[in-house]
């Protein structure tokens, strides 16, 4: 059992998955951000590997990716930064990115190196299930890495069942068909999340895209196991204040009931 499976065994409600872009805001701030996220109450870290053409991402994450690339972030540099991170970070950590940089690194080497660092799983939004099943699933299994599929309000029940069977770790429920950081139609989102809940899936589901504050986090958690926050946190880091203080204030604003409104 890896850390991800462990997490969901111990916590099935209000799981907070925090996204951050590796190498952002500074090349060497990756670990500092991760430490802060762990210290202030994140349950899971989704570490974005920057790509020049991130099709599923809105402007905020695009800009953080461009900055990280300009800072010198590459997969190779990231694995060097992560070499000893398990000495201080116990949270499950998954890598999110796009296929092209991973293919250039070499998919098998990428999985082996990620696993050796202590990474628990992958999200590659532009790797479709046909390619995954045919070429890549055995490599992930061999390295004990989870793989998370995205589902959207347009994904058919049949496909959701298929992704549930293929996924390990959790399913990523995109809250509407949109790029990251987009605005949501709340009624539509609730109906979709209720439908997901009623399907009694094997994998836990986390809601992402458009989760930005306490209200949207709470709404997502009503029907699923938790939520993923990325854009709003990157925006907070963009303010340029101390990473630790920013992270503390941000996570508290999401999870701490005492300061509710």
């Amino acid at each position: 059992m890896n850390r991800l499976e462990n997490l969901f065994q111990n916590k099935s409600k209000r799981v907070l998955n925090m996204y951050c872009t590796a190498g952002f805001p500074e090349l060497n701030s990756t670990l500092e951000v991760m430490r802060s996220l762990q210290r202030h109450g994140a349950d899971l870290i989704e570490l974005g590997m920057p790509y020049s053409d991130p099709l599923a991402d809105g402007p905020v994450i695009q800009e953080s990716s461009a900055k990280a690339i300009a800072n010198g972030m590459t997969i190779q540099v990231l694995f060097e930064q992560l070499k000893n991170f398990r000495n201080e970070i116990s949270l499950p950590v998954i890598l999110m990115g796009y296929m092209n940089p991973v293919l250039q690194y070499g998919f098998e080497k990428f999985c082996a190196d990620a696993a050796a660092c202590g990474i628990d799983g992958l999200i590659l939004p532009d790797l479709p299930e046909y390619e995954y099943e045919k070429f890549y699933a055995p490599i992930l299994k061999q390295n004990n890495l989870s793989f998370t599929f995205l589902i959207t309000p347009e994904t058919s029940a049949e496909r959701i069942q298929k992704f549930d069977a293929l996924s390990s770790g959790f399913l990523y429920a995109v809250s509407s068909s949109a790029t990251t950081g987009s605005q949501q139609n709340n009624d539509g989102v609730e109906a979709y999340l209720k439908r997901l809940q009623s399907m009694k899936l094997n994998n836990p589901a986390l809601v992402g895209f458009g989760i930005k504050d306490k209200a949207s986090f709470n709404r997502a958690c009503t029907y699923t196991n938790g939520a993923i926050i990325g854009t709003a946190y990157i925006q907070a880091l963009n303010q340029g204040k101390s990473i630790d203080e920013t992270t503390h204030v941000f996570i508290t604003s999401i999870t701490n009931n005492q300061y509710l409104f």
Binding site: S52, D53, A66, P101, Q104, P128, T152, E154, T155, S177
Partner: protein, 400 residues
């Protein structure tokens, strides 16, 4: 292997959209429903008799097809061979792009879509899309790199005159690649009512195949026109410029299996292949994934896409369609390149020799006339993909 088309050869994609090792559909789940809908329906619609009638009628009466195959007498004498020009510059809107947009707007209608989006580089595809949207009364949004909006301003004005909304792409190099990113993001954000009219043989399967089929009218006409002119339907050489590669795909299509026909594609070398300012993907690229398909791609060792350069906005693209990547690696096609300078010279030469001002993109195809040895018996067809009105400002500045 499960094949879904009836004319399969190694130069046509398999069920999953692969031409050899290139192609496929590397898309996020947010695009799945739309792309899958297209994949499962495009051949059925295209093979339907009423679709074909609508398509052929529009090609004839709206686009103005067949376009002439013109024997370029003075150019032939100059190079000691026989050169025919396939006059796609005489299509309505001034380039081959409209062949595809006419087909795709009919496809969008049959899929029940009300909102059309497109990317454009030189603006020719944007104009061709705005044209068919006005014809059908559909909303049209065209994404165009901010840099391209400046260097192809007349086309921006044409799109707006026909009621299209032109949205600048401001990320990256602010050219065709970035416009394509923005169009794809728009499609992700509008999954229900929108059809994305991709302008080249790029993108996830089935786009490369669908666009190649719509453009294949170019080589279909070349065959009977050349037979009328010479008694032989096969040229010895077909030459076309390549950015993503749609006019080349159309000009090559019906000759792919005729191995005696040499297929010559010309990419933009920019300021020179090794200058760091180039768009010659087959010379500089390695296998990679961009805009939903696996193909050759200009990229760093870390897999970040390199920003290309070409004087011609339509060829200023770091990738190439998967069909072309396959033709290049299988050596079925010969992939050459021409610099900005060579293209400008070729544009000037064609203007003065034949009285035809070509688009900057098209001029790249003519630049290879100087680079090859020709025989008097050769029958060379050059795809004159577009006219040069949109490039007059550049020509006036550079050809003083």
């Amino acid at each position: 292997m499960n094949k879904s088309t009836n004319s399969i050869s190694e130069f046509h994609p398999d069920h999953h959209g692969y031409y050899g090792m290139f192609g496929g559909a590397f898309i996020p789940e947010m695009l799945y429903r739309n792309v899958e809908e297209l994949r499962t329906q495009y051949l059925q619609h295209m093979n339907d008799a009423s679709f074909q009638k609508d398509f052929q009628d529009l090609l004839r009466d709206f686009v103005g097809r067949p376009t002439p195959l013109f024997y370029a007498k003075r150019l032939s004498e100059k190079y000691g061979t026989q050169i025919w020009l396939k006059r796609e510059d005489l299509c309505h809107t001034g380039a081959h792009k409209v062949n595809n947009t006419v087909g795709q707007i009919l496809m969008a209608e049959r899929l029940g879509k009300k909102r059309i989006i497109a990317e454009t580089g030189a603006g020719q595809h944007g104009v061709a899309t705005a044209t068919v949207c006005a014809l059908k009364g559909l909303e049209c949004i065209v994404y165009m790199g901010e840099k391209d909006m400046q260097r192809q301003a007349p086309n921006v004005a044409r799109m707006r005159m026909m009621g299209a909304k032109v949205v600048p792409a401001t990320s990256g190099s602010k050219t065709l690649k970035d416009a394509t990113n923005e169009a794809i993001r728009d499609w992700i954000n509008h999954p229900e009512d929108t059809h994305y009219i991709i302008g080249s043989v790029v993108g996830p399967h089935p786009y490369p195949d669908m666009v190649a089929r719509f453009q294949s009218v170019i080589s279909e006409e070349i065959k009977w026109q050349l037979k009328d002119a010479t008694g032989n339907e096969e040229p010895t050489h077909v030459i076309a410029c390549v950015g993503g590669g749609s006019n080349a795909a159309g000009a090559f299509y019906h000759f792919l299996e005729s191995v005696s026909v040499e297929l010559i594609a010309v990419e933009a070398a920019g300021e020179g292949v090794d200058s760091g300012k180039s768009a010659a993907t087959t010379a500089l690229g390695t296998p990679g994934i961009l805009h939903g398909s696996k193909s050759l791609l200009m990229q760093t060792a870390d897999g970040q896409v390199v920003e290309p350069h070409s004087i011609s906005a339509g060829l200023d693209y770091p990738g190439i369609g998967p069909l072309h990547a396959h033709l290049h690696t299988s050596k079925r096609g010969k992939y050459l390149h021409a610099t900005d300078e060579e293209a400008l010279e070729a544009a000037s030469e064609l203007s003065r020799t034949e009285g035809i001002i070509p688009a900057l993109e098209t001029a790249h195809a003519f630049a290879v006339l100087k680079k090859m040895q020709w025989k008097p018996s050769d029958r060379v067809v050059i795809c004159l993909s577009g006219r040069g009105d949109k490039d007059l400002a550049t020509y006036m500045e550079k050809l003083k």
